[in-house]
């Protein structure tokens, strides 16, 4: 018996992996992975290049599927085992800064000559909290573009250009909907997820509304915001059933099988559509007549952790990844570096100029350390609106909850 125990123990001990000390510094870099891309391969190539440029630094890359990324990071930070450097969703920056998990990078950025204007404004803003810079923008995208199925539009006699206005979108959605044929005009979704919130926000922004005002109080009860909610509610008859548990992913499947004429997605959707046999195009968001659509910024920043023993090396790696000649090769969204982004969309995306224009005009989500709670309240708001509650009342409920967070 004792022998078996010993045997198992030794076996386990030898299996604990190569954690031996090395002369080199080993940097732990964590990133989430989008399933749409075969990104890890490019990242590995970039890491090799970085290691060649910095022979005394070895980078250990950990990629984590998005659904678990937040939990993994949180557990690691709480357990005192954070990586040295990682990508952080824009909406987590304030919380991670407030928690003391990451360090301000103002000094380093100043010394290295990294300036705000090299990046998209919304992305740079999302890395700033409480007057300090907490991360360098890594990649960005914007919610949302309205991808359209050209064949369905043609059949229903809808001109994509007409859809730019709110009324045009509704009229088009109505024409494109024919439940008897299993055809739907517009893909609404309101499951518990951030995609629900960013689409809601972009309609509120485009209608001139805001989520929080300058003082940080809820602004969803403004006429502009309530108007946007009422507009979204008026689209419900033209959306596939099951909005309250649908995600952007579900809408994509319907778009791909030609039951859905219009879907809301960021530019990240393009590679999937390119691989399909669909004849597609996209409209750059929607706004009331005469106004310009404002999208919601999404994306990731690179942050250096407070617990890292190798902050200097970590900073070097951040600089490397956001460099104009590297950034485009290591992201699956769009590089946050504007010059790299322009080259990237020209090479990899259809309608590059329109994408860049939409990015430059996009607005970030509220920069609050309690953003995740605000987001949850907004999901409830979306679900209430889509299930028929009076938009004014739904907004009042949401604002009561948001203002109670203080």
């Amino acid at each position: 018996m004792r022998f078996t125990t010993l045997l198992v123990a030794t076996a386990l001990a030898t299996m604990t992996g190569p954690a031996l000390a090395q002369e080199k510094i080993t940097l732990k870099f964590w990133d989430n992975q989008q399933t749409e891309s075969g990104l890890s391969q490019y990242q590995q190539e970039a890491v090799k290049r970085f290691e060649a440029e910095n022979p005394n630094i070895k980078v250990e890359v950990t990629t984590i599927p998005y659904p678990e990324y937040q939990q993994r990071l949180l557990t690691a930070v709480q357990g005192g085992n954070a990586p040295d450097v990682s990508t952080l969703d824009q909406i987590w920056i304030a919380a991670f800064a407030e928690a003391g998990a990451i360090i301000p990078l103002d000094e380093q950025a100043k010394t290295a000559g990294i300036k705000a204007d090299a990046f998209f404004k919304g992305a740079w803003d999302s890395a700033n909290y409480g007057g300090k810079l907490w991360g360098i923008p890594f990649n960005v995208d914007v919610w949302s573009f309205s991808f359209v199925n050209n064949a369905l539009l043609k059949e229903a006699g809808v001109d994509p250009a007409s859809m730019v206005s709110f009324n045009g979108l509704r009229a088009a959605a109505q024409k494109l909907t024919d439940p008897a044929k299993g055809r739907y005009g517009v893909g609404l979704f309101a499951h518990k997820g951030e995609d629900t919130v960013v689409v809601l926000d972009s309609f509120i922004f485009s209608n001139g509304g805001k989520v929080l005002d300058e003082a940080g109080k809820c602004a969803l009860t403004s006429d502009a915001a309530v108007g946007a909610l009422a507009f979204l509610q008026s689209l419900v008859p033209y959306a596939p059933k099951g909005i309250l548990n649908a995600s952007s992913g579900d809408m994509r499947e319907l778009f791909l099988n030609k039951s859905l004429a219009v879907e809301f997605w960021p530019a990240l959707e393009q590679p999937t559509l390119q691989k399909s046999s669909l004849d597609w195009d996209f409209v750059v968001g929607h706004a009331p007549e005469g106004k310009k659509p404002i999208g919601t910024f999404g994306g990731w920043n690179l942050a250096v952790y407070n617990s890292s023993p190798h902050k200097e090396a970590a900073w070097k790696f951040v600089q490397f990844l956001t460099r104009e000649d590297v950034n485009g090769a290591v992201v699956d969204l769009i590089p946050a570096n504007v010059k790299a982004a322009k080259a990237f969309v020209q090479a990899n995306r259809k309608g590059g100029d329109r994408i860049i224009a939409h990015l430059e005009n996009a607005a970030p989500r509220p920069l609050s350390p309690r953003y995740l709670e605000i987001s949850e309240i907004q999901v409830q708001l979306a679900q209430n609106v889509y299930s028929g509650m009076d938009p004014k009342k739904a907004a009042a409920t949401a604002c009561a909850a948001i203002d109670a967070l203080k």
Binding site: T62, P65, D195, S247, S277
Partner: protein
């Protein structure tokens, strides 16, 4: 008359069997069907039971090099867990059934109900402990967690089994001059074989599909297990159903196979043991 009634009964039973089979198999059949659908072919409305152009391409994608690493990791972790859990459970179950003092029965209750804590509520404290023991990203951390999680049920299963063994066995051994340790290893353990098989299969099935600990304790790809690996196909905004279902089929196959081979012993082990309560 009687024969006709018998036949009617048989037909009814067969029909019920068919319904049961359908309930169980329909979702599986669809899973396999989705796994055979070409990635570029969109889903049909209404849903098709069988894809138009079945292909194995999803299986090729699913069986990528990482998958083989995950597979090996899963085997190492599961087998270690099964061995350790069953060993510890045998010891504890023996003590719980043979010794009869009050403190012990309280302890037994405490051990057996320990599975009532929701994993999401205790994962951070456990993570901190694993971290301070310097065991993160090791097989040991996973095996420790799995042994703890599976031990209560394993003890319960084996306890029932051991309780059914007559005390006279040990008395006879004692008369022959065998010490308690020898009695345990040479007489009790061999007699428990069906119970051991049943418990081992149970522990294997639970361990093979565990996700939360596996995700939290491992950080590099070379340490991940299969259930975590499957999640590579679930993205932020979309799911790659074909590859997900293909790798799910691949993941389930080994356990299904093992269960198929051992089902007789599994049921027999439960019969003789756990069901005695």
């Amino acid at each position: 008359m009687k024969a006709r009634r018998r036949r009617a009964r048989r037909v009814t039973l067969m029909l019920l069997n068919l319904i049961l089979g359908l309930i169980i198999l329909l979702p599986f059949f669809w899973m396999v069907s989705v796994s055979l659908k070409p990635a570029v072919e969109p889903f049909a409305i209404p849903a098709r039971l069988w894809p138009e152009n079945p292909t194995l391409e999803n299986y090729v994608t699913a069986f990528r090099p990482e998958f083989r690493v995950y597979f090996l990791n899963s085997i190492i972790v599961s087998v270690s867990t099964v061995v350790i859990t069953v060993t510890l459970a045998l010891l504890a179950a023996y003590a719980f059934t043979r010794a009869q003092f009050r403190v012990l029965s309280v302890i037994m209750t405490l051990v057996i109900v320990a599975q009532m804590f929701p994993a999401s509520a205790i994962i951070i404290p456990i993570y901190k402990m694993v971290k301070s023991a310097n065991l993160l990203n090791t097989y040991v951390s996973l095996v420790l967690a799995y042994v703890t999680v599976t031990l209560p049920v394993a003890i319960w299963m084996l306890r029932g089994f051991m309780a059914s063994l007559p005390l006279t066995l040990e008395e006879a051994a004692a008369i022959d001059g065998a010490g308690p340790l020898r009695t345990f290893f040479e007489i009790i353990v061999p007699l428990c074989r069906p119970g051991i098989v049943a418990t081992a299969v149970f522990v294997l099935i639970v361990t093979w599909q565990e996700f939360l600990f596996a995700l939290s304790f491992t950080s590099t790809k070379d340490m991940r297990t299969l259930p975590v690996g499957v999640n590579d196909f679930i993205g932020q905004y979309g799911i790659r159903y074909g590859e997900l279902m293909a790798s799910s089929v691949l993941i389930s196959l080994p356990v299904i196979l093992i269960f198929f081979l051992l089902q007789r012993q599994f049921v027999a082990g439960l019969t003789a043991g756990a069901v005695k309560g």
